[in-house]
Amino acid sequence: MTDREEQAVILVQGTNHAIRAEKLLQRAGISCKLIPVPRHLSSDCGVCVRVERADREAASQALEEARLAVEGIYEV
C-alpha cells in the first residue's frame, strides 16, 4: 500500500465476511488488507477491507459478483 490518502475501505458484515472478501479480492488479483473498522465510519469493533482507491470499482464488482453484501465503501 502506498499513500494513505489513496485508499478506500470496504465495510462488510463482520469478520467472516471480511475474510471471504479478502479471499475473493486476492483471487481477482486485487491487493487488499484487513484493518480495524475506522471509528468515524462505524462503531463496529471488527475488521474491514482496505484497497487501493484505484481498485475501488474492480473490488466492488468482484464482491458483487460473489453476492457478498457490502455495507459501504469509503475513501480514506
Partner: protein
C-alpha cells in the same frame, strides 16, 4: 489393539490434524473475529478455512452459509427447533438416531405434527412412503443419510426430488456419511445438511456444522442461542445475516483448526477412494461373519448399500458380554447396545437387546478385519 468404534468417533485422526491444533494453541491462540489485531484475524482465517473446506467437500456454493458449531446434534437442533412451529408437519424415518428423534418428540409435545415413516427390517426407506405421508401442512423431511446402527443408506436425492416438487425442505443428518460417502448438496437436493467433525471428516470432537441452502428462509430459522458475534456490536439485537446470526459465543477455534486439516486430508485422499477401501473391508466382514453359524448380521448385507458399520449378534451371548470379552481378551474396541437409536433397533428387530457394532474407517486394515473375525468365531464356538 484394534479400534473398531469409528462410528462413534474416528481414531486415529488423519496426519496433520493434531499438528494444526497444536499450531493454533502455540502460535495463534487469539479469539477469531473478536478483535482486529493480526492474530485475531489469523484465527478468523483458520475458522474461515474450515468453513470453506466443508463447503468445498459438500459442494455448497457459499462458505458463509456453513454455520459452524460443536457437533451434529447442535446442528440438527438448530434446523429442527429453529424452523418448525406448532401446526407444522414434519416427516422422518424409523431409522433415526436420537439426535433427530428426541428434538422431534419434544417438538411434537409442543404442537408440531410428526410422521415417522416405517423402514424395512433391513433399514431401507421407500421414497414413495415419504411422498404418501405429505400433508398440506408438511414443511420438512428430516432424514439420516446413513444409519449409525447398520449403515444402511437412505435415498436422500430421491426424497430431495419429492421435496422440491412439494415445496418442502430436506434436512439430512450426515453424521455417518460426511467424508466417507459422496455428498453434493446441489445434486442431492439437500436444503439443510448437518454434519459432525469428529467422525469421517477426521476432525476432533466438539466440531460440526449446518449448511443452510438458498431455499431456506433464514428469517424463519431462529437461532438456538444469541450473544456476542464480534459483528454489529453497536446493536443489542442479534445480527440477521449468515453465519453470524447462528454462531454466538467464542467458537471452538482450536477444534476447527483440526477440522480444517481433517477435511482437507479427506479431499486430498478423495472420498471415492476412501469409500472403495471401506466397501471392500465391509463386504469381507459381512460375508465372513455370516459364515459363522450362530452369528446374525443385520442390515442390507451389501456393502454398496451401506457405510462401514456392521452390527451383529452371537447366539447364546449377550451383546454386552461379547463387547466386554472382545475388549478384555482380544483388545478389540467396539460398541454394544442400542447406539442411541431405539427406533432403528425396533425397525431391525433388535430392540431392546441391541447388537454388537463394528465401525470401520479409512485406516482400518484387512488384517484387523481378519483378526476380529477370528475373535468372533472363537466366542461363537465357545458359546455353543
Amino acid at each position: 489393539m484394534i479400534y473398531f468404534d469409528n462410528a462413534a468417533t474416528s481414531w486415529p485422526k488423519p496426519p496433520g490434524v493434531a499438528e494444526a491444533m497444536m499450531h493454533f494453541m502455540e502460535a495463534v491462540g487469539a479469539n477469531p473475529g473478536r478483535a482486529a489485531h493480526h492474530r485475531a484475524v489469523e484465527a478468523g482465517r483458520i475458522v474461515y478455512d474450515a468453513r470453506e473446506a466443508a463447503a468445498k467437500l459438500f459442494n455448497a456454493p457459499d462458505p458463509l452459509r456453513v454455520v459452524l458449531g460443536s457437533n451434529v446434534t447442535e446442528s440438527l437442533n438448530l434446523a429442527l427447533c429453529g424452523y418448525l412451529r406448532p401446526g407444522d408437519h414434519v416427516i422422518t424415518s424409523s431409522m433415526e438416531h436420537n439426535s433427530v428423534m428426541r428434538p422431534l418428540r419434544a417438538l411434537e409435545r409442543a404442537g408440531v405434527e410428526l410422521t415417522v415413516v416405517q423402514c424395512s427390517p433391513e433399514g431401507f426407506l421407500d421414497p414413495a412412503d415419504v411422498e404418501a405421508s405429505v400433508q398440506p401442512n408438511t414443511v420438512m423431511v428430516a432424514l439420516n443419510h446413513g444409519s449409525n446402527v447398520v449403515g444402511t443408506l437412505l435415498p436422500v436425492a430421491d426424497v430431495g426430488r419429492i421435496c422440491r416438487e412439494r415445496g418442502l425442505l430436506l434436512l439430512v443428518d450426515a453424521a455417518q456419511t460426511g467424508g466417507t460417502y459422496p455428498i453434493d448438496v446441489q445434486v442431492d437436493l439437500i436444503d439443510l445438511l448437518a454434519f459432525t467433525g469428529h467422525k469421517s471428516l477426521g476432525g476432533p470432537m466438539g466440531t460440526g456444522g449446518l449448511i443452510v441452502g438458498q431455499r431456506v428462509d433464514v428469517t424463519r430459522l431462529e437461532p438456538l442461542k444469541r450473544g456476542g458475534t464480534g459483528s454489529n456490536s453497536e446493536h443489542e439485537q442479534q445480527p440477521d445475516f449468515l453465519p453470524d446470526m447462528y454462531e454466538s459465543g467464542t467458537p471452538n477455534a482450536v477444534g476447527l483448526a483440526g477440522l480444517n486439516a481433517g477435511v482437507r486430508w479427506v479431499m486430498k485422499r478423495g472420498v471415492d477412494e476412501i469409500r472403495a477401501h471401506e466397501v471392500a473391508l465391509t463386504q469381507r466382514l459381512i460375508n465372513r461373519l455370516r459364515e459363522i453359524p450362530s452369528v446374525t448380521v443385520y442390515g442390507g448385507l451389501d456393502a454398496e448399500l451401506q457405510t462401514a458399520v456392521v452390527s451383529f449378534n452371537v447366539a447364546g451371548i449377550e451383546p454386552s458380554e461379547v463387547g466386554l470379552r472382545l475388549d478384555e481378551e482380544y483388545g478389540i474396541m467396539c460398541r454394544v447396545g442400542l447406539h442411541c437409536a431405539p427406533a432403528a433397533h425396533k425397525t431391525l428387530g433388535t430392540f431392546p437387546v441391541g447388537a454388537v457394532r463394528f465401525g470401520l474407517s479409512v485406516f482400518s486394515t484387512q488384517a484387523e478385519v481378519n483378526e476380529a473375525l477370528d475373535a468372533v468365531r472363537e466366542l461363537a464356538q465357545e458359546a455353543q
